[in-house]
């Protein structure tokens, strides 16, 4: 069969990281080709290059043997590449037809004829084996149906190549089955499908070939029969630790009284019956794939969840955090996953960011700010956490991601918590700053702080945590300590 897509030496840099390092491989026309790898391995970046969202820094993409330059998403569609994104890109207030033909409403004579378009989209949906009224509003459809509309839209562009990014992450088993049927029939119709997924069972079930990426590097393509489940996991995981990241010494410790006990914690739709303990001076890692419920667990502990049940005991006393202010008063701190959205105040200065937390006393009598204290807090923290600051009045958005993260951590430490919850501590941060953040966390934990670290980065969890809980589908599926914790075991549990 002929190669429909060929990646030649694709390299893509992002500030501080190499997202793709001369990736070379090709995809056969009319096949289902799976792309697997850890979070951040470069799968999405590669697909976004095909989709015209990013332009590679070097290397070429060949389509049917001809080098092409995909500058923008429109160009990509014109070349016959359709992407079904993980996060759906539909307008919920418009109908199925309106969504499918958005931007292409006019016929050749320049008129808009909705009846005609409705008929066309009905025919399109029929080809996919579903029977929706094309006048239905998207918001009235289930997630699975919405995904089908995305697929229909991609097909309506006569896409020869269909990229699906984790299409089953939001689907039930039945819906997934249906989707696999549709993918199969698309293949029979001669389309090429690139299928990105974390779920090995799916990958082995539907794909003809499997390519593996790790840390932006291409590791090989295997036909389905050629490779075993275990081998893939080894390849995905087989990352050597960066030399700059010092591994935490794993002492065999005897756990006595836990600081935090969580019993039968449930949050409908996210997790169920979680039990765990957190011990003094411990860094507890929670590993899992995206959507496993890790962030939601931290939110619940921090009083950000609207409804939950279960018991939280801190130092032998049961407590309820109804909101973050309660949580802070009770000695919790949380460094959020999305720094830009929930972590920093981008319009504020570094000093203001460093003091913006109800747990930091910066008030004089009468509610007036103690500016001197704020400035002192900031310079103390800058010293303690070696944050490079030229001017304290500078806006925080002008700092690098690593320094921003250090400011956020420093702020929470200034609130003198007993428990620090930190979600994806080093997302979007370069290697040097990563090592510094690890050093900070280790120092804090040796000074008596208990840390819960949620991370999708395997090497991080392995090198920094005393104990690792693996979360999958809203449950803890494995607990690993000391030498027992290996990459293979963690991945096998999480996938």
């Amino acid at each position: 069969m002929k190669q429909i897509i060929e990646f030649r030496n694709i390299t893509k840099y992002f500030p501080g990281v190499v997202a793709l390092r001369s990736v070379n491989f090709s995809i056969e026309g009319g096949s289902i080709h799976a792309l697997v790898g850890e979070n951040g391995a470069g799968k999405s970046t590669l697909m976004n290059i095909l989709g015209g969202e990013f332009v590679p820094d070097s290397g070429t993409v060949c389509l049917n043997g001809i080098p092409v330059c995909i500058k923008n998403p429109a160009e990509s569609l014109r070349l016959g590449i359709g992407i079904v994104h993980q996060e759906l890109n539909l307008c919920p207030n418009l109908t199925i037809t309106e969504n499918i033909y958005l931007g292409r409403e006019k016929d050749k004579s320049g008129k808009v004829c909705w009846q005609e378009l409705d008929k066309k989209s009905a025919a399109l949906l029929k080809r996919l084996g579903v029977d929706f009224d094309p006048k239905t509003k998207i918001r009235n459809l289930s997630l699975a149906a919405q995904q089908l509309i995305e697929i229909a839209r991609a097909i309506s562009y006569d896409a020869e190549i269909l990229i699906m990014d984790e299409p089953t992450s939001a689907l039930t088993i039945n819906e997934s089955e249906k989707l696999f049927g549709i993918i199969q029939s698309l293949k029979e119709a001669g389309k090429t499908i690139i299928y990105i997924s974390h779920r090995m069972e799916e990958v082995f079930r539907i794909s003809d070939k499997i390519s593996i990426l790790r840390d932006g590097e291409y590791l090989g393509t295997y036909a389905r029969g050629e490779i075993t489940h275990d081998k893939i996991i080894k390849l995905i995981a087989g990352k050597e630790l960066s030399s700059e990241i010092v591994e935490r010494k794993k002492e065999s410790r005897t756990y006595k009284e836990p600081v935090l006990q969580v019993k039968n914690l449930c949050r409908p739709g996210f997790f169920n019956g979680l039990d765990f303990n957190l011990y003094p001076q411990e860094i507890l890692g929670i590993y899992g794939l995206q959507g496993a419920g890790r962030t939601e667990l931290l939110e619940t502990l921090f009083g950000l969840a609207p409804s939950w049940s279960g018991e939280i005991w801190l130092n032998g006393k049961q407590l309820k955090n109804r909101n973050p202010a309660d949580a802070i008063r009770n000695g919790f701190a949380m460094v959020p996953e999305n720094r830009l959205r929930n972590g920093i105040f981008s319009k504020m200065s570094i000093t203001e960011n460093m003091n913006c937390c109800s747990g930091i006393p910066i008030c004089r009598a009468g509610g007036l700010l103690n500016m001197k204290k704020m400035v002192r807090n900031c310079s103390d923290a800058a010293d303690k956490f070696s944050i490079k600051i030229a001017c304290q009045n500078e806006k925080i958005k002008n700092l690098s991601g690593g320094n921003q993260q250090k400011v956020v951590i420093a702020k929470w430490i200034a609130a003198s918590p007993d428990i620090l919850m930190i979600d994806e501590p080093t997302r979007g941060i370069d290697v040097g700053a990563k090592a510094q953040i690890y050093r900070i966390l280790r120092k804090l934990s040796s000074e008596g702080l208990s840390v819960i670290m949620v991370s999708s980065e395997l090497s991080e969890v392995l090198s920094q945590c005393d104990r690792i809980l693996v979360m999958k589908g809203g449950c803890f599926v494995s607990e690993l300590t000391g030498n027992n914790a290996t990459k293979e075991k963690i991945i096998a549990a999480a996938i």
């Binding site: 921090f302 950000l304 909101n323 973050p324 202010a325 949580a327 802070i328 008063r329 949380m334 959020p336 959205r341 929930n342 972590g343 920093i344 105040f345 981008s346 319009k347 504020m348 203001e352 003091n355 913006c356 937390c357 109800s358 747990g359 910066i362 008030c363 009468g366 509610g367 007036l368 700010l369 500016m371 001017c391 009045n393 500078e394 702020k411």
Partner: protein
Amino acid sequence: MLNAISLKKRKAASFQEGGVLLALVFIFIMFSCLSPYFFNMNNFINIIRQISLLGIISMGMTMVIACGEIDLSVGSIYGASAILCGMMMINGFGIIASLVVSLLVGGLFGFINGVLVTYGRIPSMIVTLGMMNVARGFALIISNGRIINLSARTVSSPYLNAFMFLGQGHIFDIPVMTVVFILITLVSIIVFHKSLLGFHMKAVGGNAGAARASGINDKWVKIWAFTFMGLFSAVAGILNIAFLSNVQGTSGQGMEMNAIAAVIIGGTSLSGGEGSVIGTLIGIFIIGVLNNGIVLLGISPFWQTLIIGMVIIIAVAVDTWVKKGRK
């Protein structure tokens, strides 16, 4: 003005108010050259008296906008508290009682706005659009649409002259109204720039999610901002009735837009999270000087509206382009 310049120096790193201040200086020099009547003490006192009421309201608006919200009801609250104060006085209530009650009612209107926006989760644009009509209706109902005149004939209190002094008197040649405006400006600087509440207003307006996750009670911060807004509107409304000695139910219409304009010209972004009392002060001066200068030049007052409109657009456009250019 000197105060503004020295503050500008202190904040030189951020350059926030620098641009607007330059614009003000430019307009000032322009009118000084064009009109022989502009550059003299009497005219300056005229200008600061004219801008005082709008200025008081704009201070509250700076806080509300910094919280990422908007208040369209201020003109109506201004009218309603003035009417309430006047009605109480001609119906035999004491001056102090009338003053206190109408101030509290103004604050209450703002408080209700705040509660509906936060706990009611209704967009502030809608809540205050509704409250604009509710407060206006309240003013028209209690006054029955009549003009309320305060004079020795209608008000029996011996302290009527003391009340009128608030609107018409002078302290060392400076109108009392302006003195109140200066006091309100100082209060605003303390609340907005020097207190924890103001710090939290900026945090909530800049990133409500992060503020909540930092243990800040975002709802009460906003309620406070709206309450200050209502209270300041009432202060301005009462000064207005003391100045004119009469008031009618339609008083203060359109004032909300001028207040928003002053805040925006002063460099505060409508998306919230930042703002400066000094910037707003400069914005008010720009509007006041323009209005005054246009009249002195004998240009038709109809042009005033058009020119102020253009200034708003130019001010925001320049601000946006400069910020983009810096990136």
